[in-house]
Each structure stands twice: as C-alpha cells, then as structure tokens.
Symmetry: C2
Subunit: 273 residues, 2 copies
C-alpha cells in the first residue's frame, strides 16, 4: 500500500508558484490574497496563520481582514480592489448568515476558493472557473499518483457544496464515471466497494473501513476530524483499509497541504490575468 | 409494464398554471415568455409554435423575437423589460456563438429554462433557481409515477449541461444516490443494470436495450431522435425493455409535453415574484 504524499505534492506545486509569483513581482504585480475572518474561532485562526506562512514562502501577499458584520460589502469592496487578486471568506460565519448569501459578493474572477455559486455553475458548464481548492486537491492527488481517471468508477461519499459536489464535477470532467453517495444512500459499502477510486468527504471520523474498499482501490481521504487528544483523523479508518487499498492519502499530510498550495496557485493565476 | 403518461401529467400541470395565470391577469400582470429565435431551423420553428400554442391555452403570452446577431444584448434587454417574466433562447445558435456565451445575459430571475451557468450553480448549491425544464420533467415524471427517490440508486446516462448534469443535481437533492455515465464509461450495462431508476439522456436512438435494465426498474427516456420516416424515437429501445422494466416514459408523449408545461410553469412562477 502506498501513502500518497500530499506534503511532497504541495512542495512541487509551491515551487512552481514561487517562480510564477517572482515573475509577477518583477513585473510590478504582487499577487495578493485577501482573507476575511468573521470569527474568533481558534481552529480558523490556526488555518489562516498556516495560509499566511505558506503564502510568505511562495511570494504571495496576504491581507487578513477582521470583519464581523458587513461581510457582503467587505467582500465586494475587496473584489473591486485592483491590488487584490484573490478573495476568500473564512467560516464559521456569524449566526443567521449563510455562506451562499455572502459568496455572491466575491467576483468570480477573484473567487480563488470557488465559493460563489456562479463559479460552481461555470464549473458544471465546463467554463473557466476556480473550483474550491479542496475539490481541486482531490483531482491533483489522483493525478500525481498516476491514477487513470478516464473511464474509472469513482464514488464520492459526501455531497457538500464545498467539496463533494465540486469534486464530482471535476472528476466527471476528467471522464470518470461518478457516483455521489451520502447519508441517505441505501448501502454505502455496496456502492464504495465496487469503486476504482473512493473519495471520502463526509466529515466524520472513520466512516469508511475495510468493508467499504475493494482490493486495489485508491482512496482519497478529505476528512480532518479533530480527536480528543488534539490530533486529526480522516473519514477513513486508514489502518483497517491499508491491507486492502492500493493507495491512500494520509491525514494529516494528504489533502490538507495540497489544498493550501492550490489556493495560492489560484491567487497567482488570478494575478496573471 | 406501465407507460408513464407524460401527456396526462402535462395536462394536470397546465390546469394548475391556467388558474395561477388567470389570477395574475386579474391582478393586472400577463405572464409573458420571450423566446429568442436565432435560426431558420424547421424543427426549432415547430417547437416554438408548439410552445406558443400551449402557452395560449394556459394564459401565458409569448413574444417570439427573431434575432441572429446581437443575441447577448437582445437577451439582456428582454431581461430588463418589466413586462417580460421569462427569457429563453432557442438553438441552433449561429456559428461561433456558444450557448454559455449568451446565456450569461439572461437574468437568473427570468431564466425559466435554466440556461445561465449561475442558475446551474445556484441549483448545485441548493439555492432557489430555475432548472432546465427537461431536467425538471425527469423528476416530476418520477414523482407522478410514485417512485421513491430518497435512497434510490439512480443512473443518469449523459452528462450534458442542458439535461444530464442538472437532472443529476435535482435527483441528488431528492436524496437519490446518483451515478452519471457517459461515452467514456467502461461498461454501461454494468452501471445501468444495478439501477432502480435509469434516466437516458444520450441523444442517440436506442442506446439502451434489454441488457441495460434490471427487472422492476423505472426508465425515463429523455431522447427525441428523429427517424427517417419523420417519427421520433427515444434513447431506449422501448420494445426490448418493456418485458423487464416496471415503467417507462414513451417517446413521444413522455418527457416532451411535461417539459413544455414546466417551462410555462416557470414563467408563471417568475411572474408571481
């Protein structure tokens, strides 16, 4: 069994971004990401700090904006700012505000984490658009591992707007035959155990185990579920699946670092236009 | 085997629309659909006439606009016209113009055939939006037949932006486990023959036959493929499937009339806002 090394892939992506960002800076443009933070949540603060650190390494500037109330206007203003190339909003959002309410205020051209429904629709229609970085990471990890996606049976477990649905659309665009499973699926193990590739994005620890994976399958584990001892575990019981799967992404060190690298790649792409 | 009667369902839907349209007219609003026709194509002209005839019956006004060149501005202008509640554009489009290029000019609030990528994205995100009427017809026919969609294994054959993908999204929202197959699918019969519901939207005559359907399955045939003798056949070989399936929509008389009725329902809904 191979552990698909997300940290190595992220490093490769970052090296390329750093070159592109250096060229942009030399030409007078500093690729800049604005992150709106509407919360005191500690996990969010930790994630934002990790983006800032990684961005510094590759030559992307980050503007962190603390805004709790006027989120829509704030995102619209940042979208209109010519010195800002990428705009994203962290969660959790204040009570009564939904992600979709505010994401429409992010210009699709700067929507580097694919939050605006228009970005999702353009993705579905096969038009140029930024996909959520996590969904992109799923495809990039499979590509890096050398998995043939055209004609492959891929089962995505989870149907969120943030990961499951955009990942399904990206995999469909790669010519995979895609099944989307969820909490109402009759027999999850029947579905997943016929798959060449299983993408787990449920958001609950160890939902998928040995009974869910067929010998030789490739498993992408998007889950990052905190444990009581301060660690992280995925949606897949890696230990149980190890003797069966051909390859799996570890948690941590799989989807996470690739997601951050791709988010920054999207900023550099947006700055290049 | 039951033939699912699209004409009967369409009549039921039209009766309801007629009531709603009468109320709107009594209150001073004539629900109005603008259809932009950029072609001399005979099949298109036939389809537009059929919409006009059906619309007249239910009290929806139709404005047919012949426009070959300035399609985007024309759709934008109709979108801005307060006396127009629904806007759609017929195909085929002039060479060099893609549906996506022009559909962005239709205001999502008037996009009664779900052509704008923003409508598709809102659909995917679970936000209020008009879906393409054909995709809606798939779900309404299954509902009318009494098929339980929650937890059902549904296989959609075809991944077009106009039918396959929006139908998959609508079925997912109904809590079905949805698989999307297409020309690159490894073994189509293996996929479809495990399905409780098969939705055929390939656009080629008789792609699905006896080997593709499992006993007791419900089959929705979206295909309308012209025959050499001037008739229409579906994507499913109905005769071959009849002894196996529990129910199937006929062609013609299945998805077609329901699609037109739902398009007009969308116009009335748009006029009610």
């Amino acid at each position: 069994m191979t552990l698909i090394d997300g940290r190595a892939l992220a490093a490769t992506i970052r090296a390329r971004i750093a070159d592109d960002a250096a060229r942009l800076r030399a030409a007078g443009t500093t690729p800049t990401l604005a992150i709106v933070v509407p919360t005191d949540d500690e996990a969010t603060a930790w994630y934002v700090r990790s983006i800032v650190r990684t961005a510094e390494k590759v030559g992307v500037a980050v503007r962190v904006v603390d805004e709790r109330e006027l989120l829509g206007p704030c995102l619209a203003e940042l979208s209109a700012d010519p010195t800002v190339h990428g705009v994203m909003c962290q969660t959790p959002l204040p009570p009564g505000i939904s992600r979709d309410d505010i994401a429409v205020h992010i210009d699709p051209a700067k929507d580097v984490d694919g939050a605006n429904p228009t970005s999702l629709g353009r993705l579905a229609a096969g038009l140029p658009a930024f996909a959520p970085a996590t969904a992109q990471a799923v495809v990039e990890l499979l590509r890096a591992h050398g998995t043939t996606l055209a004609g492959a049976d891929v089962v995505v477990v989870g149907r969120s707007t943030v990961v499951g649905k955009p990942a399904a659309l990206l995999l469909l665009a790669e010519n995979a035959t895609v099944t989307v499973c969820h909490s109402r699926t009759k027999d999850l193990a029947v579905q997943t155990s016929r798959a060449d590739v299983v993408v787990a994005c449920v958001g609950s620890a160890h939902v998928l185990g040995a009974a869910h994976i067929r010998p030789g399958a490739v498993v992408i584990d998007v889950g990052t579920n905190p444990t009581t001892d301060g660690g992280l575990v995925g949606d897949v019981d890696t230990q149980a699946v190890e003797p069966i799967a051909e390859a799996i992404t570890p948690v941590p060190g799989g989807v996470g670092p690739v997601t951050t690298a791709l988010l920054l790649r999207n900023v550099v792409t947006a700055a290049s236009h």
